[in-house]
């Protein structure tokens, strides 16, 4: 257990005890309640892989996976997620072995400047799980029909629309996700 205390600013209110498990490591924290999950990760836990883009939930650069779901870490208070399990981009690879999506992003040039990439990766990992669970999207033709989702490029684009890439690497991002999902469906995963 790593014990970390954020230094409260002079005008702060009482700090709050929070326990989190991030990329498999347990943390016991005392936080100013204003601390966003994003700032906690970057500034207190030394996990700067998660990026601050707009800080207003409009770009997706800060996407992390909390209890299996992707959320914008900028628009949440860390204290709300007391007891949660969090995966950031630093937790996707297995040691030196990249996550299949990371390798696919490299192969398909799914980035240019790379600033949005950690958010894109976390978002895509969770998106693939959502697809496996049969969730509908805005472009799903008939939401009343349940069952397997056919992950067309249109579906990938809609489901990834919460992650903006200002370099416009979208074709590469879509290709990388398409490749990984097709491989896993061929393996029957």
């Amino acid at each position: 257990m790593n014990l970390i205390e954020s230094v409260p600013p002079a005008d702060a209110s009482e700090t709050v005890a929070v326990r989190l498990r991030v990329n498999g490591t347990n943390y016991g924290l005392r936080l100013d309640p204003r601390t966003s999950l994003l700032n906690l990760l970057r500034e207190n836990l030394d996990l700067p892989g998660t990026k601050k883009g707009c800080d207003h939930g409009q770009c997706g650069a800060c996407t992390v996976i909390v209890n299996g779901r992707r959320i914008n870490s900028c628009l949440t208070l860390a204290v709300i997620y007391d007891g949660s399990e969090i995966t950031t981009v630093e937790g996707l690879a297995n040691g030196d072995e990249l996550h299949p999506l990371q390798s696919a992003f490299v192969r398909h040039e799914g980035f240019q400047c790379g600033y949005c990439t950690s958010g894109q990766l976390c978002s895509a990992v969770a998106m693939i799980q959502e697809v496996d669970q049969g969730t509908a999207s805005h472009v799903t033709a008939d939401v009343r029909k349940s069952g397997n989702v056919v992950l067309t490029d249109e579906e990938i684009r809609e489901r990834m629309s919460g992650n903006i890439c200002r370099c416009g690497a979208y074709p590469g991002i879509v290709a990388a996700i398409r490749e990984v999902t097709q491989q896993s469906s061929q393996r029957g995963v």
Binding site: P33, N72, L77, I80, A126, Q133, V143, R159, G162
Partner: protein, 329 residues
């Protein structure tokens, strides 16, 4: 962001007790409130975290309707099997809004409590009667492209930003709330307000009340075969509606038995297009009738220099949403 005291409510009673303290606010998903706090538009002294309350269930009611827990996530609501099968309009509307990340954090109750995305409301340097009553309205003299064309007042032309609420308005949902005096039910049409003389008050929820659930009536199930949520926006996804239309038809023997039409992006609240509904009832579901219905509603709209386009856009959106709804099955 201003400092605030943070407490976690462990039960409804404690939450309602806590909210009675001065300048206290509930926080659930936080996707709108925290954004507003970062901009100093909202400056609560105390946040009551209600995420631990047991209000996440989505369950069938004894009368055949469906109860959506106030703390059920938007994403879970949209993808709940019974919502998808019986109230596909709700699923479509939720999935048309925001992004997957935001829908994963945002709750149903919070969706109802969203505040306008009017840029003058967000910009604390500008006058805004909603944020600072009596200071004036930046939008009336400024850029009003995204603003309201129905039910405006000389004090405010802001719109309500929700997609989900437009579907809930169309289906006559009922909001269940709990306060110090006990529970009460608020019909959806009476939940949100028009700006009038008090644009700072968005809803008829009292300050010390907690939304506990949203009920979808069993009768709204009759629209499941013929409903559609059409959203028109500046880009294909992840943007607020310029105009949206929730259309729901109960068609039997080739005749519209009952019609529901509600619009988003056009008013301070989800706008029930009752004039269009009246024009549809008892008619055959055909384009000529849809045009008459759209004209009946939109002729009462009033645009500004910048948002006048919404009147023709709204007319066409109503016709298109009804056409798609009628042809579903």
């Amino acid at each position: 962001m201003n400092p605030f005291a943070y407490t976690r409510a462990t039960n409804q009673q404690a939450a309602i007790q806590a909210i009675m303290q001065q300048n206290a606010k509930f926080i659930a998903g936080g996707t709108n409130l925290l954004d507003l706090m970062k901009e100093n538009v909202e400056q609560p002294a105390r946040l009551i975290d209600i995420n631990r309350l047991e209000l996440t269930q989505i369950a069938e009611r004894r009368d055949g309707g469906l109860r959506l827990g106030a703390l059920a996530k938007n994403s879970d609501t949209a993808n709940h099997q019974l919502v998808r099968e019986r109230y596909p309009l709700v699923t479509q509307a939720i999935l048309a809004g925001a992004s997957a990340q935001l829908r994963n954090a945002a709750t149903n109750g919070g969706n109802l409590m969203q505040r306008t995305r009017c840029y003058y409301f967000y910009d604390t340097v500008m006058p805004c009667n909603k944020r600072d009553p009596g200071s004036g309205c930046g939008a009336l003299e400024g850029f009003s492209r995204i603003h309201a064309i129905f039910g405006t007042s000389p004090l405010c032309i802001a719109t309500h930003p929700s997609d989900m609420c437009v579907a809930l308005a169309a289906l006559d949902a009922v909001v269940q709330v709990e306060g110090p005096q006990g529970p009460r039910s608020i019909p959806f049409a009476e939940f949100h307000r028009l700006p009038g003389d008090t644009p700072q008050i968005d809803t008829n929820l009292r300050r010390d009340e907690l939304i506990t659930a949203i009920d979808l009536p069993a009768t709204a199930n009759s629209f499941a075969d013929h409903s559609y949520y059409l959203k028109v926006r500046d880009r294909a996804s992840y943007a607020f509606a310029l105009v949206s239309v929730a259309a729901a038809l109960d068609i039997r023997n080739g005749v519209i038995q009952e019609a529901r039409v509600a619009m988003g992006g056009v008013a301070h609240k989800p706008w029930r297009a009752t004039k269009a509904e009246s024009a549809l009832k008892g008619q055959r579901p055909e384009e000529r009738i849809f045009r008459i219905a759209a004209d009946a509603e939109m002729q009462t709209a009033l645009g500004t220099e910048h948002n006048r386009f919404k009147i023709e856009l709204g007319r066409r959106a109503i016709v298109r949403a009804l056409t798609i709804a009628a042809n579903n099955a």
